[in-house]
Symmetry: C2
Subunit: 150 residues, 2 copies
């Protein structure tokens, strides 16, 4: 598809990925929206995370993170744990249900990524990731110049 813009390519890919993921998640009989999935995975991956650190890593408004956390807590997938060093803040921990869900989500995402990449070589994918991350980092330097990688 010659001449397709970078922006259009990103839109198409985003939509393709989300559609495949939604299908895979439905097969796992999980019913979480994609934002909650990303947050839950992030919590499993980084112990002692806070709403603030999640918002920073995902570059989302803290209000949105708070709402998603509330839904995940309501669903029994994570819990808040007081941060003894800062009374304003709390750590977020997955419950055993949460961890179980993430196992299914990992399988779903593996399938989706497998479908996306089935006509590609490993070094193409590696370059794609490098280029993609370079672009996101370039943007971050403009949009939030004083916030580095936590």
């Amino acid at each position: 598809m010659p001449g397709i813009s970078l922006g259009e390519a990103v839109h198409r890919l985003m939509h393709a990925y989300k559609s495949l993921l939604r299908e895979a998640i439905a097969k796992q009989e999980i019913e979480l929206p994609v934002t909650q999935i990303r947050i839950l995975k992030g919590i499993c991956r980084s112990p002692r995370g806070t709403a603030q650190s999640i918002a920073q890593r995902m570059q989302r408004d803290k209000a949105q993170i708070t709402r998603a956390l509330n839904d995940l807590i309501g669903a029994g997938l994570i819990v808040r744990v007081d941060n003894p060093a800062d009374g304003r803040s709390h750590f977020l921990k997955p419950t055993s249900s949460g961890r179980k869900i993430v196992a299914g989500l990992d399988a779903a995402e593996d399938w989706a990524v497998q479908q996306l990449t089935r006509n590609l070589q490993a070094d193409d994918i590696a370059l794609f990731l490098r280029v993609s991350n370079t672009m996101a980092d370039s943007a971050r330097q403009i949009l939030a110049p004083d916030k580095g990688e936590p």
Copy 2:
């Protein structure tokens, strides 16, 4: 950022691109949401397009396309033209206001893409586009197997 998943990379890039585009569009004093922008650009680029062909190319629900078209018509940026060959369908044409807006949008998008790609070589970008389009095409073969490229 080692170990970031493909999905997470796509999310980050999508968000980075949208944030830069929003900033650039604000500078142009345009106030269109991103979906309307994409549709308007598509209409300018392909004469005799219909709601159906736009929905297919963007892989969006026709309901969503119809609503965005209605907003664009309401804003005076496009018009509907009857399709003499099919009474159900109509072609979509930009107005002179619409074409003018697209000139500003092109400038905004050029700026956004320039910021994203400033730390990259041209062949990296070319490979990124090739890989991205290959992935989107792979997904399309699964999600809508009988719909090829119009």
